[in-house]
Amino acid sequence: MHSGLTISQADPRPMYLQIKEQIRHRIALGDWKPGREVPSIRALAIELRVSVITIKRAYAELESEGVILTHHGKGSFVAEAEGLSTDLQQQELDDHLVAAARLAKLLGIDETELAARLRRAERKAEKK
């Protein structure tokens, strides 16, 4: 089972976080559907050439957030929770907005201007 996940050493985020966020993204997009088996910890470690303990950490957090479920001896699966993929998409949007708000503060951009720029971005996205 080729996961298609990648690790970048130039990414300042720790490796476990890169893996976690890519898995959340795949589920948010509906690429990995509820009930789908996710790669075993060891298989993913081998594929990505990162230590087992790193993948374990990523899976443990995904599990505590209710994104995946582990049945001992059977493997890990994308949680069946109703609307999980929508929730994750909402969460992803919020994460982007928080990052944008932080940057705006750093650049000294106030709320009104930030909102104006968001509207401009919306128009741009519609054109595409």
Binding site: P12, Y16, R42, A45, R49, S51, V52, T54
Partner: protein, 300 residues
Amino acid sequence: MSSAGLIVEMRNVSRRYRFFSLQDVSLQLAPGQIMGLVGPNGAGKSTTLRILMGLVPADTGEVRVFGHSMQTEQALAKKNIGYVSDDMRLFGQATLEWHMKFVASIFPGWDPAYAAKLLERFNLKPAQPIKGLSHGEHMKALLLLVLARRPKLLVLDEPTTGLDPVARHELLTELMDVLKDESRSILFSSHNTADVERISDQITFIDRGRIVDCNDKEAFLENWRRLRLDLHDGATLPAADGVVDVDVTGRIATVTTRRYAPEMHQVYRGAGAIVQEVQRMTLEEIFVATVMASRKEPAE
């Protein structure tokens, strides 16, 4: 941790030389795990691995591999170990193919199909005499001869030194592949901390003949942080548990800690210092900070 089921167990091993001594080294490696041994030049990494392999006797302490004593049951202990160090030399006059046949005749676990795959991966030519190989190719030849035996334990002393980036990538792929079998383990030394950070489960730092820290990799990366603080007039930073270095220049302080906790922000704020930034550290930075901190401690 109980010693049952451990692949490698070194207990309080010491060895004294005229200009160097290894002091009270203890290591434990469980099945299915990769341990990286990290240390500066002359720290005792190679000596530790040689004692583990029974090539050098320890003055005191005990070494067990697969539960067998390296002192009294060396043949049994070594049957399932593949050991490579960069000071090993193959026969210069013979070809790599000759060496492959030689190793295959001794070790029943030799896997010819895997050996052929490794030749391709490592870009080696079996008919080439060893004396014509570059340093990196010689290293790859040594690794091939050991990997194709499929030993339960790989002990590799600086396996990535002298390898080009492509060969290093191929080697890391092969090492991770070893772990498909959950009963196999790897112990390797390196000063390439990026390689160690990537593939190790357990990390041991060694300096001046002593182990200065040992933990699982995620714990190292999670506990260490560098904080940048702005200091108000007259602020003095309170002492905090786990802080290994404080550097104050003007009104900015940089604090390095091995036990980061969010509560530190409040403690510092109370003293007139505002935490502006919390940075994660790479394994290399953690390693250097650990060594510097341990060298500052008074010798026992």
